[in-house]
Symmetry: C2
Subunit: 429 residues, 2 copies
Amino acid sequence: MKKVGVAILGLGVVGGGAYSILSSHRDFYMKAHGLDITVEAVLELKRERALSLGIEERKIASSIEEICSNPEVDIVIESMGGVEPARSFSLAVMSAGKSVVTSNKELYCKYGYELEKAAKHNHVGLFYEATCAGGVPVVRALLDNLEGNRITSFIGIINGTTNYILTKMTNEGKSYKEVLAEAQRLGYAEADPETDVEGYDAAYKLSILSSLCFHTKIPFADIHREGITKISSADILCGKRLGYVIKLLAIGKDGEKGIEVRVHPAFIRTAHPLASVGDSYNAVYITGDSVEDVMLYGRGAGALPTGSAIVGDVIYCATHPQHRYSPFENTENASPATKFVTNFESAYYLRLVAEDRAGELSKITAILGKYGISVAQVIQGPAAGGAQAGKADLVVITHVTREENVNKAVSAINRDLQTEVASVIRVVE
Amino acid sequence: MKKVGVAILGLGVVGGGAYSILSSHRDFYMKAHGLDITVEAVLELKRERALSLGIEERKIASSIEEICSNPEVDIVIESMGGVEPARSFSLAVMSAGKSVVTSNKELYCKYGYELEKAAKHNHVGLFYEATCAGGVPVVRALLDNLEGNRITSFIGIINGTTNYILTKMTNEGKSYKEVLAEAQRLGYAEADPETDVEGYDAAYKLSILSSLCFHTKIPFADIHREGITKISSADILCGKRLGYVIKLLAIGKDGEKGIEVRVHPAFIRTAHPLASVGDSYNAVYITGDSVEDVMLYGRGAGALPTGSAIVGDVIYCATHPQHRYSPFENTENASPATKFVTNFESAYYLRLVAEDRAGELSKITAILGKYGISVAQVIQGPAAGGAQAGKADLVVITHVTREENVNKAVSAINRDLQTEVASVIRVVE
């Protein structure tokens, strides 16, 4: 029976989940995989957290050096989150000849190039399935299943917190603030929700996943990022009437003009397979030139689903002693050869609040026309939702057009007409 | 640049797809993976098929021995289908030190134990992602992502032909025979459709996938199998009214009483993520004790999607020189320790055609009650659909009960009442 010693750095939700899976499945892994996997050490500032999980006192390390010098430890699970000290600790254990399994998306996104280099240098493994989309097996699918494809499009719902908030807003008609407060009470959102609601978390993951999709480094800094804080119930309601549902999407595209990477809220058709991905579920919808469309769906967060991804990597590491490293040149910045498209093309949803409806519509469409924007659908009147007393809402869905044209048209409408553009939301057809 | 020589046995839909992907992506694989993959030989009885794909005459082998002795060939793609000569050819090339990538579900299902043994003996790789669900990355997900889970339930739509037929029947109200004829005309069904419509193909795949799920050999012979040939438009219509859609499901369960494996048509709720998997798409819905629910969805068949799975395995094989073999003891028969549950529990849909409606319902429910079957839902009258003139349809959805009780109740109704049980279909809640 092969013995595998594991250390866990950080016993928060994810590290605690990995611990509880490993300890409750020890017999199962012996039988199913011929591996005797034991947690030999943990590093956790809050000792009582370790003790409450039933971890023996002698296994609670008081420094990273103890983990590094522990000969029983083969694989280190890094589930601390944040850049430091996770980064130095990961480098230290790799120098000590231990493989790393990480769930730390911010670290792998920002310093993956450095970690990959260190892993290669030290001939140890580095695994990061748990950095993206919890239990959804997307990292390995891109690495080892879809690698024969030119991936042309990646659309992901890869942040559970925002998906929970938007689903609640959609189903219950509540405001962003109300639902956020509720999510915070229930532990679905952090006290400081910025990382999630402003799209940072989704952008870290998109950086990791789009690099795998497009076989080249896509740095965080090159990702266009917008959060969900400005989404109103009125927009959700108007979208619904037009057959759309709103999601925070992480989009990667590779086309003739270059690579396009963006995180922002967007309307998608209710018939799209991603539209029914609700609550804290995550899903990725990937289009490749051979495989056509593939969707992977599952729990995007949580102790056990993310723990499942970690433990999957631990078993993979233990059963595949010959390690592979980043399949592309994993550098700090993008390759100079990579062209990024920033003037996106998209369909748009515009909600306009008109002072005086009569005559305004033709003025609005005239301005849109001036900037080459053609209108696919219009709804007028109070039924469009959310209008203030004495004002009228008007919702326009455009055909696919350039973002810069939309921005110019919106400025012109706000400047020249008795109409205010209340919202501009992209529409993914 | 690492050179990788490939041979393809059989240039049918799948082999031809793999060939066209490999030949059109040669430069891409050099750039993305540092691999120069070339097709060095093919074995295809119909030489004109090879020539029409643009394969040079000198690469068309005239015997398997030529492939075995070709030093340029590292990896052999077996896409012939059927047991012989695919089996002998696979064993021969492995003896000659070549790795095998197969899309042959029947062969891997029936002789996987023998192929795994030969691969191990010859220190070559054996890959079979393409045997199941076309482009859906389910084999590797079970092997390398979800292996830390006790999988409790697997539900798959893993046969594209039957899903196409049932989707058409559902959407267009046509009969099985009509849609089958149409599918045959369009090439979605074989001239002899038995392998698909009687559930053999799905059962081969379920044997492979449930063995991976449950870490033990699940032979084809232990799978309960029923096809879709008896499904009527009347049943589809009645199911629709009750909020169900019919699918050919491949189900694997592992519980306290043992393992349950079955392929049969079943109603699932329209809200279930599998319900919207239409046409020739495939999907698997997997529940593990840590990961909770995961669904993988994509094209279940076709030259390029299945070719994508094959090429994925070729690249994996070329970049992972240390091979792993079946993670469980892959034997011809199930382990004596494996207990199979054959007296399933399920909810049931019964469609009854009553000679005289008045009074029959209470007699029917009395018989159901006698066998411990409780009724969850009933619809009566011509609206239930499909009734003959002068007769009345009655549809009963039961609560979960044992299959043997349902069989007894159905016999009793047919024997004792003026009512005929026209259909019995399982309902997956």
